[in-house]
């Protein structure tokens, strides 16, 4: 989506409405770019992650990195993808099976999100799911912003403002403060265990 204000300047009303929307949906505006960046990083690093997982599958796993998932089988954590989401493998007689496993700390359970014999394909299915999630989020926030604007400024056509807000969500870089936090989390969570 292009920025609708790229070729025609916003009116004063549109400017005010945009500022109101940015204020009201500040959390979305902060969190969406960070999540988008996480997905982009995983897509970018998919080949490296698959390689690390393949190598890990050929070596013994430290005991503390072995978990039991909801399929009742033991899985070996090889790469941390996101907070509480791990790329795992499971030795089988003719190689390894791979899975993306989500850990739910509250209940101590481990749910398999994607699984298969090819590490790259499993990762691809996982990142495609994340892309779909971003799409669901975008459609919802678009609906929320339109509703907010129509209630706050009844009878006004502020569709360009809503489009500009979505454009901002989709293209805005992660804020400095958030970026620092995020990068700290990444350092902590991206540790590759082999």
């Amino acid at each position: 989506m292009n920025n609708p204000f790229e070729h025609r300047r916003p009116t004063e009303l549109e400017d005010n409405a945009h500022a109101e929307a940015v204020r009201h949906f500040a959390d979305h505006l902060k969190q969406f770019p960070a999540s988008r960046e996480t997905v982009e990083r995983l897509e970018r690093d998919a080949d490296k992650i698959a390689l690390v997982a393949n190598r890990a599958a050929a070596r013994p796993t430290p005991k503390e990195n072995i978990i039991q998932a909801d399929d009742g089988k033991q899985w070996h954590k090889s790469v941390d993808l996101m907070e509480n989401i791990h790329f795992c493998h499971r030795p089988i007689s003719y190689g390894a099976e791979y899975a993306v496993v989500e850990h739910f700390p509250a209940h101590g359970t481990n749910e398999i999100l994607n699984r298969g014999w090819n590490a790259g394909e499993v990762l691809k299915a996982f990142t495609q799911g994340l892309r779909q999630t971003l799409q669901v989020w975008t459609e919802d926030i678009s609906g929320q912003v339109r509703e907010f604007l129509s209630e706050k400024f009844p009878g006004q056509d502020l569709s360009r403002v809503a489009d500009a807000f979505i454009h901002k969500c989709a293209t805005q870089a992660v804020s400095q403060k958030h970026s620092l936090t995020h990068s700290h989390q990444q350092n902590h969570s991206r540790g590759v265990r082999i």
């Binding site: 969406f32 209940h107 799911g129 999630t133 971003l134 669901v136 339109r146």
Partner: protein, 42 residues
């Protein structure tokens, strides 16, 4: 809402673990019963 970030909530929706109803203008509304159901099972 659930004490988790938005991405986690939308992931639950995308995976069908949380079933919203689609309200006016495409906005998603999660019924209270859905939240309680999720909290009971997760």
């Amino acid at each position: 809402m659930l004490g988790v970030n938005y991405f986690s909530v939308y992931r639950l929706i995308q995976r069908g673990k949380l079933k919203p109803c689609r309200a006016l203008r495409g906005k998603l509304l999660v019924p209270r019963t859905e939240l309680l159901k999720l909290l009971a099972t997760e």
